[in-house]
Every structure is written in C-alpha cells, then in structure tokens.
C-alpha cells in the first residue's frame, strides 16, 4: 500500500498537467460532488457515466497506469465481499454495488495524485478543530520517515532470521522493534516542537494560502464539474 501512497505523493508534487496547476479547492469540491453522486445514484447508468468521466480525468493527469490501477481497484476486494453477501441473481445490482466504491476511489486517487498534500489539507484544516488540523500535517510529515525506519527495522529482523521463529516469539519481537519506533516518535516530537518554536509557531500550523487561488487551469475543473453535473441531472432517474 505505502509504495502506492509514496508514488502518489511524489507525483502530486513533481508532475505537470493542467490538473496539477488547478486550485486544490476546486478539485476537492469536484471530487466530493462526484463521490456523493456515485454513492447515492439509484440506477446503474449514472455510476457508469461518472466512472467514465473519472477515468478520463485520471488518464489525463499523467499518473502512471499501473499506479492508477493499483490505487483505483483497491476497494474491489471489499466490494466483492459485499456483492457475494448480497448476491440475488441480478448482475445489474452487483455491478452497481461494485461501481460505487470503484468510482469514488478513482476520483480520490485523481485528487490526491494531482494535489500536493499541503494544498489538500489546507482547506480541511480550516474547517477542522485546531488540534486536528495540525494533526493532519504532523501525522503526514511523520508518516514517510517512520515508514522508512519501520521497513529497515523489519528487514533487519528478517536478515537475523526472525522469520524462522514461531509466531508466538516472532510477533513480540516485532513489537519490541516497534517499541523503538514509539521511542523515536516521542523524541522526534520533542525535536519537532522545538523546531516549531524556533520557526515562530503561533499556535496553529497554517497550510499554504494559495489552495483557493484560481488559475486558467481551473477552467478544466469547471468543465469536468459541468460534465459531472450534466450526468447527474440527465441520468439520475434513468434506469
């Protein structure tokens, strides 16, 4: 999973496409609207149309196809479990049940793959309580560093033949290794706090202020929003 996340994070910052240049707020609203429509759609045609629009957005965003597929099909397993539990002989119902999470996931991957995380979190941190908004930034910043350490730790355990131990010894050993990461996290937080103070922390971490700045690229987001809205209006009642 995390390799996918790391690649998405890198591409969101480093890649160039009209979607990358568009404002985060517009893309966030478009993705939220499309997800809501897909989730609430009563018939099959609307999710199908939204899914097609979603692929159009994703394929034009210069996200690698393999990465896109890995991320966009992530909810398929869970959707299949639900379809199996609900199977009533109707392929239409099954397809609709599968399309909803797949469509939603596709729009979210497009959003995350074209928007750097400070821009993505900035509008959310405006509506969330201060601690939670700050927590978004601090957690995300900690993630990749701790992930690297965790991977190195588990590789070291593997090299020292921890995998050959029985599970009742292997798991507590993994726990001890994670204990060192807890300790590192604690010490890291102390350093981070000192750095925040040095940089003039005023009691709130403010994300970038240009998440809502419109650019000519926002015309594309407007067009996509128009297409999603038109699909919603025209296909909502169409079976």
């Amino acid at each position: 999973m995390i390799n996918t996340l790391a690649q998405i994070d890198f591409i969101a910052t480093a890649s160039h496409s009209p979607w990358h240049r568009a404002s985060a707020l517009g893309k966030l609203l478009l993705a939220a609207g499309a997800v809501l429509l897909a989730v609430l759609a009563p018939h099959l045609r609307l999710p199908l149309a939204l899914y097609a629009i979603g692929w159009l957005l994703a394929l034009t965003s210069r996200l690698p196809l393999r990465l896109l597929a890995a991320a966009a099909f992530y909810p398929l397993l869970f959707a299949l479990l639900f379809i199996a539990l609900h199977w009533d002989g109707s392929w239409e119902n099954a397809l609709r049940l599968a399309l909803r999470p797949l469509t939603a996931s596709l729009y979210v991957v497009w959003l995350a793959g074209t928007t750097p995380y400070p821009d993505l979190f900035a509008p959310l941190s405006r509506v969330l309580p201060r601690q939670v908004g700050d927590g978004l930034f601090l957690t995300y910043r900690a993630l990749f560093e701790l992930l690297g350490r965790a991977e190195r730790m588990f590789r070291a355990l593997h090299l020292r033949a921890a995998a050959s131990l029985p599970a009742r010894r292997r798991l507590p050993l993994a726990g001890e290794a994670l204990g060192t990461l807890v300790l590192h996290g604690f010490e890291r937080s102390q350093r981070m706090y000192s750095i925040m103070l040095l940089r003039g922390h005023s009691g709130r971490i403010c994300g970038c202020r240009h998440y809502a700045e419109a650019s000519p690229a926002d015309l594309w987001v407007g067009l996509a929003a128009l297409a999603v809205s038109a699909a919603g209006v025209l296909l909502w009642r169409m079976p």
Binding site: M1, N93, L97, V108, L178
Partner: protein, 230 residues
C-alpha cells in the same frame, strides 16, 4: 479488523450520515478534553499517528497469512481516549484522501478505529495492578481489538440488514450472514492474537527503556489505622 477500511458506496447513507455526525461530535468532545495540551503533545500525537499509518502498510507474516497491524491498542494506552480518538480520526482522513477507505465513511471508520484506541487506556489502567506492563498492554490491546471488532461486525451486519442499495434498495433475500460471520470472526481472532502479541513486545520494551511513557497504574492506598488504635 479495526482497519479493514470500508470504502465508499457499500454502506447506506442512513448509516454513514449519522456515523459522520457522531464522529464529529466525539471529535469535538475529544478536542475540548485536550484543549489545554501543549503543541508538544500534538507533535507526539502526529508521530504516533504516522507510526499507525506506517505499520498499517507493512504486512507481517502470521501463520499462513500476512497481517497488517494497526497499533490501536498501544497508541490508545500511550495517548489516552481523547487524544487517541483524534489520532484515529486523522489517520482515517489521511487514508480516505489517499484512496484507502472512503470519504463518506470517514466517520464510521474513525468510530471503529477510535473505539479500539479509546478503550485501551482505561482497560490498561484497570489491568496493570498486579501484572507486568507488557502483559497489561497485551490484554488491554486484545480487549480493545475485540471491542473494535464487535463495532465493525455490528456495523456491517446492520448494513446488510438495511440493504445497501438505498435509495432504491437491493433485494434482501441474498444476504448470507453465516458466511459473513465465518469470515469476519476468523479474521477477528487473528487480529486479536496478532495485535496482543505485538503489544506485549511494545510493552516489554517500553517498560524496560522508558517506563515513564506508559500511564501509571493506580496504587492502592495503604490501610489507614482506625482512630484510637495504637
């Protein structure tokens, strides 16, 4: 079980709507309970949230399958219910924004993960007297996972009963609760065993190296001699 993140579109709005509202209300309560905490604590929360996300992505071989940890129990014990719930919420929001889990079900995912995190410390404090920190942490983690699993199981059973096809509704005839229960209970037991064993190791390490990071167990007050007795 506490981080098998439910995607968008499989649960009916009648479940995820109130779930979002309840999670928001609990989040506000949690924020109010920790409003006097310093930014140092928020940085610590961020570090533990990052650790939760990191371990969620690394599969650990366990018997015949691989299991991704959550560390919900140890994080809950280290942070307490209020700060822990905030971390669970942030973790679910980040996962949803990266396409893992759903945007509409952030509230429900946070409630399930938050249930494990929130009950861990009260359980640890009750279990710690007379036990080693490692054993208490393992037991508290196991119980927290059991609570989260129950929430998850109740949620999905409710979803199946309510029929996920709202507003149209998909037929109710095909629901196979037995199959569902079999699969989820097996996963649940694996989760409880794996998380408890890992929490035992975390507790053993912290008790040796930094016992001050673990919450203190309540000490029994010495018996006070009755007045007048020499």
């Amino acid at each position: 079980m506490s981080h098998l993140h439910i995607p968008d579109g499989v649960l009916p709005p009648i479940l995820w709507g109130p779930g979002l509202a309840l999670a928001a209300a609990l989040l506000l309560l949690a924020v109010r309970a920790t409003r006097l905490e310093s930014p140092r604590t928020i940085a610590y929360q961020g570090a533990l949230g990052g650790l939760m996300l990191a371990v969620m992505s690394i599969p650990i071989p366990f018997v015949a399958l691989e299991y991704c940890l959550t560390l919900a129990g140890p994080v809950g014990v280290l942070l307490g219910p209020a700060a822990g719930f905030q971390v669970a919420f942030v973790v679910c929001v980040i996962l949803a924004l990266l396409g893992q889990g759903g945007l509409t079900v952030v509230g429900l995912n946070a409630l399930v993960l938050g249930a494990a995190v929130a009950v861990a410390r009260p359980l640890y404090v009750r279990l710690a007297p007379g036990r080693s920190a490692a054993a208490a942490l393992a037991l508290a983690t196991g119980a927290a996972q059991a609570v989260a699993g129950l929430c998850w199981f109740a949620l999905l059973t409710l979803a199946l009963k309510l029929s996920p096809g709202t507003p149209v509704g998909i037929g109710r005839g095909g629901v196979r609760i037995g199959l569902f229960a079999g699969v989820t209970i097996a996963l649940w037991l694996v989760a409880i065993a794996a998380e408890s064993a890992v929490a035992f190791g975390v507790g053993r390490f912290l008790a040796r190296v930094r016992p001050d990071l673990l919450p203190a167990a309540p000490t029994r007050a010495p018996a006070v001699p009755a007045a007048g007795v020499p």
